[in-house]
Structure formats: C-alpha cells, structure tokens
Symmetry: C2
Amino acid sequence: MTPQKAPTMKDVAREAGVALGTVSKVINGIPVSERNRLKVEQAIQALNYEVNTYARGLKIQKSNLVALIIPNTTNPFFASFTDHIESSLYKRGLRLLLCCADGIPQKEIDYLNMAANNKVDGVIALTYSDIGKHIPPSLPMVVFDRFFENRVIPRVASDNFAGGCLAIEKLLEFGCRHPIYIRFHSVFPGESDKRKDGYLYACEKYGLEPDYIDEVDRGDRLQIMKEFLEKHKRPDGSLTFDGVFSHTDYHGYMFYRLLLSEGYRVPEDVQIIGFDGIRKFGSDDDLFISSICQPIELLAEKCVEILTAMDGTPAPCLTLLPAQYRYGGTTRDGKR
Amino acid sequence: MTPQKAPTMKDVAREAGVALGTVSKVINGIPVSERNRLKVEQAIQALNYEVNTYARGLKIQKSNLVALIIPNTTNPFFASFTDHIESSLYKRGLRLLLCCADGIPQKEIDYLNMAANNKVDGVIALTYSDIGKHIPPSLPMVVFDRFFENRVIPRVASDNFAGGCLAIEKLLEFGCRHPIYIRFHSVFPGESDKRKDGYLYACEKYGLEPDYIDEVDRGDRLQIMKEFLEKHKRPDGSLTFDGVFSHTDYHGYMFYRLLLSEGYRVPEDVQIIGFDGIRKFGSDDDLFISSICQPIELLAEKCVEILTAMDGTPAPCLTLLPAQYRYGGTTRDGKR
DNA sequence: CTGTTAGCGCTTTCAC
DNA sequence: GTGAAAGCGCTAACAG
C-alpha cells in the first residue's frame, strides 16, 4: 500500500518558469499576473499536480477532515445519519472520517484522542458511553442527542418531547382510547428521554392513564413484551390497550410482530406508532411502521453547520428540530 | 472549527531533558537507553503529547487513511459492508475516510483525485459508474464486485455463480418445480452478473426451463413485476411458477409483498430466495426473506487484507468468497 | 506583483 | 547509544 511520489510545487514552478511562491499564490487564489497565472495553470495540468495535504496541513494546521463517532452503521438510523453527514460535509469541501465505536468506550476514547491531535478539525458524536471526561477541551465538537455533564458541548436533537405528544395525539385522532408506551433504553441520559415525557404530558392533557414498559435494555426485550401482553389480556383474550407508542421503530416493529403472532390485528385491534422513521431498504423505501420521523437530513446538516461555525461566535448549546408523523401501515389513517 | 495547538516533540525533548531525535526514537520503538526511554515516556504523559499526523505524513508519506468509495450507507448492504471495513481497518491501526458517491460519477472522480494525491494510502471501491479511466495508476486500490476494463485492479466478491446455483438447489430441495429468476440490474458489468449464470447453469443441470425477468433498472420495477405476474397466471388464478430466486433481497422482498397483495401465500404457493442476506434492523436482526447471504464481514476483511498487502507481492486479481443459504421465512424449511 | 526565505513537526541520516 | 542537522512540501511574510 505505497503510493508513488507526486510532483511538488517546486516541479510546477520549474515547469512554469516562475517562483515557488507564485505557484502557491495561484493555487490559493491570491492575485497574480494573468500571464503567470496561465503559465502556472498549464504547468499544473501538464504535471497533473495536486497539493500535498500533509505539507499544507502541517503548515496551516487544518485537515479539512471531520470525524463522526457513531456506534455503527448497520442500524438504519445511524446509517442514514452517516450518509447525510457525509453529504453536508462534502458540500463544504470537508471529508468524513468514520469512527464506528461499537459501544466500546475505549474505541471512542481512542478516536477522541486521535481527533484531539491534529488529525481532524472537528468531531460530531452520537455516542452511548460515558466519554464526557475524555473530550479534549479545545476540540470543536457537536453531539447528537447525548448530554455530557462535565462539558458544555453544543447539542443537536429532534424535538422529542413534541414528538412524544404528537404520537399520542395521532393515536387519539385515529380512534385509540388507551395508548401505551414502550421503551428499552440505555443507561445514559439523552434528549430522546423526552419522548416519554411527551407521552406522560399528553396522558395528563387528554386525561389518559399512563401505562408503559420502561426498562433498561438487557436484551430480554421480547420476554418483557410477552409478559406485558399477558398482563393486559382480558379473560376474553382482547387487550386492555388499543394503541402503542414505541420509543423506537425497532421495538415497535418487534411488538407489531408479537401482536400478529398472537393473533391480534394491526391496525384494526391495535395501532402502533414508532419513532425514528426508519425505512426498509434505504431512503426511498417504505417505513416499517407508522412513525414519528426524525428529520435526519436536517439534523445532520445542523450538526455540520454548527461545527463549521464554531470559529468565533458562540454556538447554541441546544438545537431542536421538529419530528413529523408519517403513515407506515400500522395506523388507521391508511386510506390516503 | 479551530483546534488549539498541541505540544510538539521539541517540548517533550525539553521536558525530558534529551534530544529531539531521542524522543522520536522512543515513539517509533527504536532502541534507546532504559533511563532515557522512561524520561521521555514521562514527559509524554505529562504533556499529553501525541505525534502530529501531518508532520509525520509529510515526512514518511503515509496517512494511515483508507478511503472507501461506496454509493451510500442507507442501503443496508452497503451499510454493513462499511461497518465491517471500518472494523478491519481499525484493527490494523488504519482509519476510514468515507466517500459516499451517490452514483454521481463526478463525486467519485473527485474522491479518486483526492485519494491519488497523498491524502489516503489506499482505496476500497464499491462503485457503479464508469470511473476506470480515472483511477490513478499508482494508487493502491481494491474493488468490490466491479470490473474495470482498462485497469487491472484486484477484485473481491462473493462466489455469485455458486450462489445462484445454490439458490435453485435449495428451492428444488424444498419442493419447487418451476423456479424463476428476477433481476433489475445496472448498466455496468460486475461479478454479481454471475448469479444469473448460476441460475441458468442450474436450470440446465436439473432440466428446468429458464424463465426470468432481467431488465435494466429504470425505476419501474413494480410495474414490470406485475406484468410478469399477470402473464404467469393460469385461468384458475394459480401461478405457473412456484419458486423465485431474486437477484437481491430488496427486489425479492418487493415481489414477496406483491404476491401477498395478490392473495398468494408465501411459502405455501411460492417460495422465495433472495441474495445478500440483509437484516431488518441491523446485524443481529431477522432477514427480510430467505436468502443466499454474502459473507460481508469476510469480504470486507479480505478487501482490507489485500489492500494492506499491496506493498510488494502481487495481489490476486480476483478473490471469491462463498455465500451461504439462510432461512428467512419465505421458504418451506421453516421447521428448524 | 514577484521571488526569496523561514519555518510548520517530524524522521532519519550522520558524526560523535 | 546519543545529539545535531537536513529536509519532507507547503504557506506567509518580507524585501525587491
């Protein structure tokens, strides 16, 4: 894996018959006589020259590289987020260094350290471990969803609270009387916790009795769902609830399949709304279930925008973007 | 987005009371007196020093960066491939520069140019446009699936031919008598074309009459599927085929839903096997349909392995890895 | 405007 | 062993 050596600026200068500095100026768009500019441009063409990134990076201490720290890209939400981050960066002439941390704190710390030391210009992080204290104080950084207690870092997230409310309002609008809430969460606090707050608020507002699964995710989700379902069956087999707001599409879909396998009909007996807006085979495909969709593209764009603006002006410490309801087959608004 | 300056090697040398070169040696694992090594290591700790990537890169012309050029990360196959590439690189101390080309040839060429000029040490490409002639001759590169006529570049792929055969053999094993094949392809030739060859070969071998959709993908897939279905209905509504081998899980799943919507039962009336092995919500979840699964992790590992070995020894021009059948609900082996 | 030059931080000779 | 010094290719400051 050893590329061969490319022509240098010196070569271009010689070829063009001008001084080194002149070549540099042409490249950096600093005014130069028309005649020289042309000569230099020709020489660049002829030699197929491109600036050496290290030399420039060494000189000006910029890499045009931004690291994205994310658990993985196999989760469709992360995948989509990654994709949009790449586009947003590319538009600005920045490149993406992808760091999949797999939930391994050490790997996140590794990447953070690398980021700290002049490998990247900034970091966007979507992380579920406790790396707050490892964030180098001088590193430009934006986090998605998470909140680190010991450092003030600009955060970007969906308006999870409003999204939680919206889910319940939609369920009610579609005829539900008893919506429940389902969630399996990590141990780290984040903005998405507010989905539940939104649910509880809506219950209060519309006079509903809150009822939910809210457990730390230990991998025994299906078991917990089954037990919950058992407890909510009436003697005749019908259910005491008729709507489900799931914290994520993933778990909502899981519950959906459980309901089907137990002979319930969706959306006739139970309607389901998830959160995230995940599509089956990528961006243009169908949703798994009806969902409160996060504006992933906008979220990504916002992260990049804030990061790139972190030069002088103080960044907003929290930016919330609205999530939208979208039909995905598990609600009764399917006439469309 | 302006990080602050980090301590340099000079600072470490001063702190440790040794010469600059000694520090360099410690860092690069070149023998140094025990006493000095300790002093240097202490100083490094104290200053929280890390080597400057640009300076080192400038000096030794290596970045430890590998670019992955891929259409996007929203397609679950690409997403998974990206994820495994990242792991494989990370294990080797390499970093991943993610380039989503979105099928825009100019973007691929941009990234290729960047790669050519000392920004990355190598490139792994999974691309569906015609960039063969833009590949810099000296750039270490490995391609997945694709074949570029004008350049000899090591290729990695699944054994698509054997996979195609396997799909038919499995369908026969599960009781099918008339398997068809469905494919919507790009205009560029690649290893995956051999899935069809495998299908045709199996037809020949087992005395089956080939019957298939094989069209350039123009986005009118559903329409074409519907027409095909219409043509294969007997007067009594039953179908003239009882098995489907789909070139991809995506289109297989699409066909699956079409069949259901028309009242056919899967796998009772028709069994379906796709190709790729895509999982619903990421790596540990269920398949969409029964499938010939590509060994994505191994494929990624192989790409990295070949790329990193491209120093001296000639690389194999084609590496094929076996694909495996896995049950996913659309075949009749579901007893398990 | 142009050419010259001093480093950016590091690796790697090369004398000692 | 160790330390001094020559660049890697580039930018930016400076003198012409």
